[in-house]
């Protein structure tokens, strides 16, 4: 009998611990994010100069110094399209083109690998940041959500936008649970 009770208590305790751990993994997002309906996407590329070293082409999908403004524009447009595709697929926020008429702004910053100690390392740095949009009455530029990534081989901003969505859904689920 005692063994049974002890086991029950142990299971309940471990369930409580697991639920706390699960909650801890998902940050509590502010109402500005949870009440938002529209989002604008902005992509910034940080780097300068032109392509002088043909060898950097071996990094393939990674951003590099661009030969012209058009080349840079093409890269940024393609990154924006990739991010927009995630938002469209997740169906939580409507993507709008003008940040001043959006509830939120998703800012993606891609750092040129050249920036790292002046060497072509192939390392890839990026930031995905969500902040208040132009419809916000009391706005400031402090990010409401942000993640950074550092990778040697791939672009992660799409995954990070997906993680942002997962956290929004998780927060909404928790909010509904509390309301019920």
């Amino acid at each position: 009998m005692n063994v049974r009770k002890t086991l029950q208590a142990a299971i309940i305790c471990s369930l409580i611990v697991i639920s706390f751990q699960m909650q801890a993994k998902t940050p509590v997002l502010p109402d500005d994010v949870l009440s938002a309906k529209t989002i604008a996407i902005r992509v910034n590329f940080v780097g300068d100069g032109t392509v002088t070293d043909k060898a950097i082409k071996r990094w393939g999908q990674l951003p590099h110094h661009f030969g012209s403004a058009d080349e840079l524009r093409t890269y940024i447009d393609s990154a924006r399209a990739e991010v927009e595709e995630v938002f469209t697929r997740k169906k939580r926020f409507q993507v709008v083109s003008d940040p001043s008429s959006a509830d939120l702004v998703c800012l993606v910053v891609i750092y040129s690998p050249h920036l790292y100690e002046g060497k072509v390392t192939g390392a890839f740095y990026e930031v995905v940041m969500v902040m208040k949009g132009g419809t916000s009455t009391h706005w400031n530029g402090a990010p409401l959500w942000m993640t950074t990534d550092f990778d040697l081989a791939r672009k992660n901003y799409k995954d990070n936008v997906a993680i942002f969505h997962d956290q929004v859904f998780e927060n909404e689920k928790n909010k509904n649970r509390v309301a019920q």
Partner: protein, 239 residues
């Protein structure tokens, strides 16, 4: 000999023009206008106010910006982040471990700015975020609007290098007793080779502010240049 002297004159002009351009402002005006700054470290749950000792020390040492605890009370928001990545590989029996570090800084408008804008004012990065922030801070100080920063910051207009004569004229229409603006417009005229106008503006700056040493120096240079131009760089100039 005459060719050499002409060349040296040309060199003087080039150096003078280059030295004026070297002061050209590097950052957005909002960065120079800022007084209150909120510094935070990026995270999934937003941006937590920075408590890192090394970063707070940088701000304490420079003493240009005041740190505030809320982004809505800030003129500028400095968002920083750190990343590191360790890769390991085995080459024969020797294990190779590389640690890549990256620190980034994104500067945005704070809540006190009246016009909404999501465009980052400045983005930079490097190996260690502490040195990235310090470098940015130093550059702001070094390229900040010239002369009497407190006076300039109180003014409705920031007078800085690199603007056109027309822009300085607009500033002067609003603030006709702004000695710095006369001085800067004089320098702009000087750049264009309009030494008569430059001399007039340097004189005006000096009449408004008699202890304006930089204006006095420039006035002398402009007078010499005017004399040199008037005699088509013949040295010595006929009197």
């Amino acid at each position: 000999m005459r060719t050499l002297l002409r060349f040296s004159n040309l060199l003087i002009v080039t150096v003078a023009v280059t030295s004026v351009n070297a002061y050209a402002a590097r950052f957005h005006d909002d960065i120079y206008r800022a007084v209150n700054v909120f510094v935070c470290e990026a995270a999934h749950d937003g941006c937590q106010q920075s408590t890192s000792d090394s970063i707070l020390k940088i701000f304490a040492a420079k003493n240009r910006w005041t740190l505030v605890s809320k982004p809505e009370k800030a003129d500028l928001i400095l968002v920083w982040f750190n990343n590191s990545y360790t890769s390991s590989s085995a080459l024969g029996r020797v294990g190779i471990t590389n640690t890549w570090r990256f620190g980034g800084l994104i500067v945005l408008k704070g809540g006190t700015t009246p016009d909404w804008n999501s465009v980052p004012l400045y983005i930079t990065g490097g190996k260690y975020v502490g040195s990235v922030i310090e470098e940015f801070y130093n550059e702001v100080i070094q390229t900040a609007p010239i002369l009497t920063p407190s006076g300039v910051l109180k003014s409705r207009h920031i007078v800085r290098w690199g603007r056109s004569v027309e822009e300085y004229t607009e500033i002067l229409a609003d603030e006709p007793s702004n000695a710095t603006a006369y001085y800067a417009r004089g320098a702009a005229y000087y750049d264009k080779g309009e030494y008569d106008n430059a001399i007039k503006d340097f004189n005006m700056a000096l009449s408004l502010k008699p202890d304006f040493d930089e204006a006095r120096t420039r006035l002398e240079t402009a007078k010499k240049m005017k004399a040199a131009v008037d005699c088509h760089f013949q040295i010595p100039c006929p009197k």
